[in-house]
Point group: C2
Chain length 485, copies 2
């Protein structure tokens, strides 16, 4: 009797396991009954997200991640915060060691470069870095995921090879910069995008004298309009960072190590130059494999599939579709990488999933100042031929009488039909989540007048009884009314 009971339990367990597998993995996988082999090239957010999400949906698949770097699964966005001392050690921002993935039965091969893909044979070759070129290995795959990311773009000016000139992209870059900065006094950061400004602030906090130079006439030109960028500029200048706008860097000079940076008619004596001058997608491997390349990067469909059906691509190396401009663009964001990894993983295991058009929601914190943007700026909309108006509010983050209330500036971009297509927010607190609300507003095609009547939560220590977003939406409505829209 006991035996039978045991046996029944055992049958039950078997049955449950089978059910789990059916629900977790795809019908396809169940029918095939073959152990799927997925090779992922790249161990950044996109590659690791793909690997983890495949495992989450498929207990059996063989998963191999190959990366050129020594570290995986670290947060490159956090490098400036290690410089600033907000995060103590570079080790802190490495969230997993390659060994950790063995638990999930994911094999991670570090320091290794994939140099050949034979997509007609479903095979690739890699070699271990810093070893004799002879040591090459070949492995096969059922699915290949290209998550090769991007590299720093260094403009073609003279002096970029001098000692003391750095790119800032990988953990190693961060470590080298921190060491160098620790022994020096003056820094020039070229490029006033997010990473440039965050790095400049980090170096300032380390005690250096810092100048940021930007070719365009404003900070963060990719995401913000000039009026909003000026608020951030004022803050950063008050923090003691010098800003030069509207001039490209022309030359870096020095004997062996950097001595001067020449920007327009200004010559700055400096101990180091950080080139935060943008990134270029790493598309070489995709080209070798024969994948179609778009205007900016690897072309993928909404499943994250390249032009070769069993090769997927995710992260900074692919092009995405912009929800506002309806054109392909880049979305070099950690969140995009993670989301794309999830979508690619699902499709690989046979679960339907689509990567939607992006709004490129971005947010940053520099010192006490939070700022961010989502969707299109007014400038970018106009550049793309979209007629827009903007609604603005300058309000507070708490009730007017509540101690510690901070100024908050909100700008909403609306089409002449009242559809909201962009938002920018600057304040010393509570920016990120408001941007997320606005992401949803834009994605759901909410209009200014609908937003102006939306229900917001309220408590004196946390908000104003009329949210600054509502005030901006009302301002936009008034402008539209005046236009007779």
């Amino acid at each position: 009797m006991l035996y039978i009971k045991k046996d029944r339990n055992y049958q039950l367990i078997l049955f449950k396991k089978r059910i789990q597998r059916i629900s977790k993995a795809s019908l396809w996988a169940v029918q095939e009954k073959k152990r799927m082999k997925v090779v992922i090239v790249g161990g950044g957010a996109a590659g690791i997200s793909t690997a983890s999400n495949i495992r989450r949906n498929d207990d059996d698949a063989e998963i191999i991640v190959i990366t050129m770097e020594k570290h995986i699964a670290y947060s490159p966005c956090a490098i400036p915060y290690v410089l600033s001392g907000d995060v103590e050690h570079f080790e802190d921002i490495v969230m997993h060691q390659p060994e950790d993935y063995l638990e999930k039965n994911i094999k991670v091969i570090t320091n290794s470069e994939v140099f050949e893909i034979k997509s007609n044979e479903n095979k690739l070759k890699y070699r271990i870095k810093n070893q004799h070129i002879g040591i090459e290995k070949e492995i096969s795959y059922d699915y290949l995921v290209i998550a090769t990311g991007a590299t720093s773009f260094i403009p073609p000016i003279s002096g970029t090879k001098l000692e003391g000139v750095f790119k800032i992209r990988t953990l190693e870059d961060g470590m080298i910069i921190k060491d160098w900065a620790g022994e020096n006094r003056v820094a020039v950061v070229v490029g006033a995008g997010l990473i440039g400004l965050e790095t400049a602030y980090g170096l300032k906090k380390m005690g250096l004298e810092v100048t940021v130079t930007e070719m365009l006439p404003q900070l963060i030109p990719r995401s913000l309009d000039s009026d909003m960028a000026r608020i951030i500029q004022e803050y950063i200048e008050n923090e003691g960072i010098k800003i030069i706008l509207g001039h490209p860097i022309e030359e870096i000079t020095g004997e062996k190590r950097v001595e001067k940076a020449i920007i327009g008619d200004q010559v700055i004596d400096t101990d180091m130059v950080i080139m935060a001058t943008g990134i270029r997608p790493q598309i070489k491997l995709a080209e070798i494999a024969g994948c179609k390349i778009g205007r900016w990067a690897i072309l993928v469909n909404e499943k994250m599939q390249t032009s070769i059906p069993n090769i997927y691509a995710v992260g900074d190396c692919v092009e995405v579709y912009d929800a506002i401009t309806k054109q392909n663009t880049q979305s070099p964001l950690g969140t995009t990488a993670v989301r794309q990894g999830k979508i690619a993983a699902k499709n690989i295991v046979g679960i339907k999933a689509e990567f939607k058009a992006v709004l490129n929601a971005m947010v940053s914190k520099i010192g006490a100042m939070e700022f961010g943007a989502v969707g299109s700026s007014k400038a970018s909309a106009m550049h793309n031929g979209i007629e827009v108006i903007s609604g603005k509010s300058r309000a507070l983050t708490k009730a007017r009488y509540y101690p510690g209330a901070k100024r908050i500036d909100v700008k909403i971009i609306s089409t002449l039909k009242g559809r909201i297509i962009g938002c920018q927010i600057v304040a010393e607190e509570r920016v990120a989540e408001r941007l997320d609300t606005m992401s949803l507003v834009i994605a759901q095609e909410v209009t200014c007048s609908e937003l102006a009547e939306m229900e917001f939560s309220y408590a004196p220590p946390l908000s104003m009884v009329i949210d600054p977003i509502i005030l901006a939406a009302e301002n936009a409505c008034e402008k539209l009314n005046k236009l007779g829209k």
Copy 2:
């Protein structure tokens, strides 16, 4: 020549003024050319919002606000924060004096009680409080707005008239409580809703020994499920406040002043009792006028119009439509009052506007703990016969490695079809704006799987790369998948 130019300018100014008036006021108002007279009874958020919004849309209207209170335009939600000392003075939370409204040409009559409304004659009578009953005044109106709010509900137990037993509703209540608490040692707060808990915390910060008692078996039963309420309970108990759940207060005893509060089998020696036992809409005037009353309060349509076409009603004294239960309910929130005032004002001046169904988004901060809810709780959904599942996440408010990251708990309530109908969040930061995102999610009928793929902004000091909301949505999706939905 100069004369003609001047004349043309003058004509232009006249023309512009006329255009402004047409766009600002309603067509109706322009056609009638009569100066509209609006009387608003009540000087709280709803009444004042109505007055200001009428003025915003109509330069001419005669606007009179009559209130029983000495103060207008103060923030009753802020009273507990004056007790706690976060806000220094009661004066701070009074945002405007009656005189301030003269600037906007809004007449405010304080300390005056409206006691008769002759709706067939469009007239009302009021008397000035604390004066001989003989001094009565009668005024006429074109539109009447009832914004009489609500009064504290005191349960019918013995001892509530003793000295040291207080309701907490108006600024005067707050002042009296603060004075009494300043001279005493022990307090009992009856009712563990928002105002009860906030007041308890304020008294604790004043140095009193505080017990909160609640008839129902959990804190904040109106908005939160018991699992989420327990997190807040733990925090509040750690702050040294005693909590008694599941027992109604039975009696308050004492000679002239309160001595004991009897709750179940517990007898608490106390110096004061605060009755935070809910509110009742003030509907007497509406009844006198002959307006239809619903199950809870004054019935209004989506224009905030009562059953009598030229009488509107706004704020705590009206019933609203619940977006989830599809039944009438109460929404005694400052934000609701302000939004209703705006809608009523627009309709009065002839601009089309509708007050939408409510989600009752609420948020509070007690000490370091923020918490809130929007839409339906799981318990309330089940109570209303809606089959639901919940998705939960326990995550962090910043990147895992970032110093100062706080725990955050998110609970999402979804129908079996995957439509999100509620959300509760508890954390030490960044709760309010996340709730606003969830308000929009619910209002826009976003599903769990859509939310799980939504774009969120990310920076290490501000968020996790996968937002806690996404994690909760993924958890909900998994549960729905297991159910085969």
